[in-house]
Amino acid sequence: MAESHGGAKAPATDAHSEADGGHHAGAFPPFESSTFASQLVSLAIFFVLLYVIVSKLALPKVGGAIEARQNKIEGDLAEAQKLKDQSEAALKAYEGELASARSRAQAIGNESRDKANAQAEAERKSLEEQLAAKLAEAEKTIASTRATAMSNVRGIAADAAGTIVQQLTGVVPDTASVNAAVDASLKG
């Protein structure tokens, strides 16, 4: 101790041997047995008091605060982990949903394209059929028209032949022979 020796304390040093009773002048204080009892009693009282305060109040309080903090940190970490897991699960679900939606969209697209194709094909077919039918009809008409025209040609040719023969010979030719001759000429 850097206790200064000046001032009012100095005389007390020399006087204390008488004043304190039992202290021997010049004796080394730590070895003055007359003070032992007082020190032991004080130590017993205050150390027991300290022990009671420490064991009953101080350590449970401080230890409780440390433990509460530890629990809080662990709880928060667990909570954070839980939330992280949740968000990861949500992300995974979202991705799954997205993938399925994409494939569904593709399926719908394919389906509608196939349907449109099929419809177009069917329309094309029916149109072709219609056209073919019309064509056939037209051909039939042409053929019949041609046949009619040919028969008309034959009649006209026979008439013309009859008339030519009559004009040339003055004899009205026999219809049957004229027809036969026209036929033969047409075939020829």
Binding site: M1, A2, E3, S4, H5, G6, K9, A12, T13, H16, D20, G21, G22, H23, F28, P29, P30, F31, E32, S34, T35, F36, A37, S38, Q39, L40, V41, S42, L43, A44, I45, F46, F47, L49, L50, Y51, I53, V54, S55, L57, A58, L59, K61, V62, G63, G64, A65, I66, A68, R69, K72
Partner: protein, 249 residues
Amino acid sequence: MKIDPIHQFNIEPLFTLGHIGNHTIAFTNSSLYMLVAVAIISILMLASGTQLVPGRLQSVAEISYEFVASTIRSTAGSEGMKFFPLVFSIFMFLCVSNLVGVIPYTFTIASHLIVTVALALLVFFTVLIYGVAKNGLKFFKIFIPHGVPGYILPLVMFIEILSFFLRPVSHSVRLFANMLAGHIALKVFAGFVAMLGFSLGAIGWVGGVLPLALTISLYALEILVAFLQAYVFAILTCIYLNDAIHPGH
């Protein structure tokens, strides 16, 4: 100017509490500083809050708690935590009273052998009683080290037993002597400054710079010693308690 480095260790009765036999029991300056130490520890440990994010005072309280707890765990294992209140009380009592004692004009409780002996004997008997109560006769295996050849075993046992019973002596004298010697050295060097100044005048005051520098560095050392000796006392307590908890290790 006379230097009296011993005066600081005087026990001054403040008032008388009573008598036991022919001993006068007084409330002394030593008692007062014990009360101060208990009050500081109580304020530190009880007035600090229990907040999730600790303030300064609470941090100091929690650091003290963790420091003592980890000291016990590392030296005496988790079973040593039974003695947590005891070790914590001893450590804090000595640490606070030693640090208060470094302040000029104060009194250092641990500079009296009777106090350190009382604390050392408290530890000694705690070890002895708990060791025998918990382990029975196996406790005395601490006197028989492993792997010692039979022919020197009696000698080793004798030394072990002797050292066991000398423990309270080394335990208490180490603390007492450190505090006493440190404070005397500090007082002597500080006294030189005043002595030189008052006896040699101006030259003396200039010359006093050297002892003053020494006093300052010694003072820093004493602050370290105050903490360190409390820690040494506490860790030796833990090591001795470890013998009671795990004899034969």
